[in-house]
Structure formats: C-alpha cells, structure tokens
C-alpha cells in the first residue's frame, strides 16, 4: 500500500470510528436531560436559588480557601489564577482530563496536583470538606457551560475502560449502569424517578447525605445500591467511568453546585 492509500485508509477508519461513536450514543444529544429535571419542585427550587442552596456553604468556604495560602510561605490559588470567575470559567466542563501517561485527572485530582507541585502542601483527602469546598467553588465558575470532555488520543484507553464498566453487570443484583440509566430512565423506582445518570451537577448537595459529595461518592452510592463491591474514593475505575459519563453528557450545561435527593 502506498502512502496516499494508507492515509485514505486511516481517514476512512477515523470516519467510521466517529460514526460508530455517534451511533453508540444511547441517548441522543437533544434528548439529554439533567438530573434536576427528574426532581420534585422543592428540590428544583432549592438548586435554582443560591440563597436557599445549602451547597453554597461549601462554595463560600471554597472561595475563602482559594484566597488563602494553604501553608505558610506558599502561594494561594488566587496568586497564580487570579479572579476565579474569569480564570476558571468553563474549566470544569472539560474535566475529567487524561494526562499524557494515561492517568485520568478530575477536578479534585487537579487541585491536589497543584497543591503538590506549586503550593508545597499535602494533598487533601478525597471527600474531605476542604477538597469538596474548593472543587465546588472551581466547578461553579463553569455553571452554564456545556460539558465537553476529550476522549481521543491518550484518553482513548481510559474511555474504553469506563465504557466497559458502564455496560458490565455488577454486584449481587447483577445490574449494569445502562440497565437503569439508559434503558429505564424516566420510570419510577419506588419513590424515585430514574434519571439519565449525568454528573453535570456534582459536587452536589444530596439531601440523603445532608452534605455535599463528589461524583465519585455518588457512583459509589449507586454501586452500594446494587450490592456491588465499592471501590475506594478516587479509585481509577471510578475516574474511568466519570470520563465516560462526561462524554455521555456531552453538551449538557454544568450545574454545580446541584441539589439532589
């Protein structure tokens, strides 16, 4: 095969792959619905009004952490990034990202990487109040911007793993994520309406938790519900799924800080 033929073949393969991905979207972009549209009026009212949204407690704490140096003689987040409303606008909608070495990085991991590399500070524990506060504050700056994660290049392998996890059956109930959130969304499960399962409002305040939690925690709660083995917070398989979920919700506006039941 000469060079030109090879290029044409490569382009063809790429085009088929693109078509393939587009066809594999179980929910068409115009049919995407944020989780809040499945919630009752009380929860919707709580999310839409910043004065009533309890997650704003975390956001305000995050704003303070943004301005203060984490340890003595260190720079604050604001010292490099300046005004978050400008510098962090739209940033969270591009996460999770995949580093050149193939590691999936969500906003939490990016904050911890920044702490280690530029602030000389110890990483914050997953699900700690401070990390949730900073993540909520950073992610809130992207409110309204459409989710747009990258799944090609170094991200391809993680995306594939995430997709596999999503469609695999887990736990004693032997359910896959897709069986509820793709095949049965909109139907009732006891007192709940099954949502499409997008992560665009996280970190979110969940009334059940009476606190803000990450997407990671929400995924683990789902795994607990189907009686599956729960990975540790920030486990690679959860990050892979988060990447897949980002692609699945492509175009859906970020809602952080959300309120959920």
């Amino acid at each position: 095969m000469n060079r030109r033929a090879a290029r044409v073949a490569a382009a063809l393969v790429a085009a088929t792959c693109a078509v393939g991905y587009a066809q594999q979207r179980a929910i068409a972009p115009e049919a995407l619905r944020s989780g809040v549209t499945f919630a009752g009026p009380a929860v919707r009212a709580m999310q839409v009004d910043d004065a009533a949204n309890p997650a704003m407690l975390w956001v305000e704490r995050g704003e303070r952490l943004w301005r203060e140096p984490p340890v003595a003689n260190a720079k604050s987040c604001a010292a490099c990034h300046g005004d978050a409303t400008a510098s962090m606008r739209g940033v969270a909608s591009r996460f999770p990202k995949v580093a050149a070495n193939g590691a999936v990085v969500d906003v939490e991991a990016q904050i911890n990487a920044c702490r280690a590399e530029r602030q000389n500070a110890a990483p914050l524990a997953r699900e700690s109040e401070d990390l949730l506060a900073l993540t909520s504050f950073v992610a809130m700056q992207s409110r309204g911007t459409p989710t747009s994660v990258t799944i090609d290049g170094p991200a391809a392998a993680a995306f594939e793993r995430g997709r596999k996890f999503y469609y695999e059956r887990h736990g004693q109930m032997n359910l896959s994520c897709a069986q509820c959130h793709e095949q049965n969304w909109g139907k009732r499960l006891l007192a709940e309406t099954v949502s499409q399962g997008h992560g665009n409002a996280f970190p979110a305040y969940r009334l059940e938790w009476q606190a803000v939690g990450s997407l990671d925690r929400r995924l683990r709660a789902c795994l607990f519900g189907i009686r599956a083995e729960m990975p540790a917070p920030g486990a690679p398989e959860l990050l892979d799924v988060a990447l897949f979920l980002g692609w699945r919700a492509q175009g859906l506006p970020i809602e952080t800080p959300g309120v959920r039941r």
């Binding site: 004065a51 009533a52 309890p54 704003m56 407690l57 975390w58 305000e60 704490r61 109040e129 009476q210 606190a211």
Partner: protein, 107 residues
C-alpha cells in the same frame, strides 16, 4: 473550621423590617443513629444560638435534634441602627462557632 453563611439585604431603611437569614454547617447528630459497626453516634446538635446587633440581643434560639443538618434560620428584625450582626452558637460537644455580618441602615 465552623462555617456559616449570613444573608442580609444590601441596605435596610431605618425603622423598617429587615430579613436576616443564616445557614450553618453542622451535622446536627440526633444521638439515635448508629455507625457501620453498630456503635451509637453521640448526640451533637447546636444547643444555643444567639444573634446580637451592637451587643443588643436580637434572637436567642434553642435548637435540638428535631432540626435537620446544616440548620437554616430566617427571621426579621427592626432595623434601628447600622452595625455588626454577630451570631454565636455552642453545640453539645462544647464547640463554639461564630459568624458576623455588617448591617447597613440608611435614612
């Protein structure tokens, strides 16, 4: 780190009614729950909360296990003078918290 969020109107007219809102990050443990190992989680609720404007008591509330986590209080005061609105509270564990906001009264 205790943290709270106080919301006031940007300014209040002298002698008129003014809305004050506060939400406080607190677990408000009822004392009836058990942890994963079956051990009772001790009760920890905000017991006593006060709100003072320039040292004058505006509100005193005794909360308890009937109030959900991250309590949210909304009440009205008559805006008599500008000054610092200071909230102070103490919970069953003896931990104290406080929060402050400035009330601006015009006219």
């Amino acid at each position: 780190m205790a943290f709270a969020r106080i919301q006031l109107p940007p300014e209040a007219k002298r002698g008129e009614v003014c809305e004050v809102r506060i939400s406080i990050r607190h677990p408000m443990e009822t004392g009836y729950r058990v942890d994963d190992l079956g051990k009772q989680i001790p009760r920890n609720t905000i017991r006593d909360l006060t709100c003072k404007l320039n040292g004058t008591l505006m509100l005193r509330a005794n909360l308890g296990s009937g109030v959900s986590a991250n309590p949210y209080l909304r009440f009205f005061i008559t805006a008599a003078e500008s000054g610092d609105l200071v909230f102070e509270w103490v919970d069953d564990a003896g931990e104290r918290g406080d929060a402050k906001a400035t009330l601006r009264v015009v006219g």
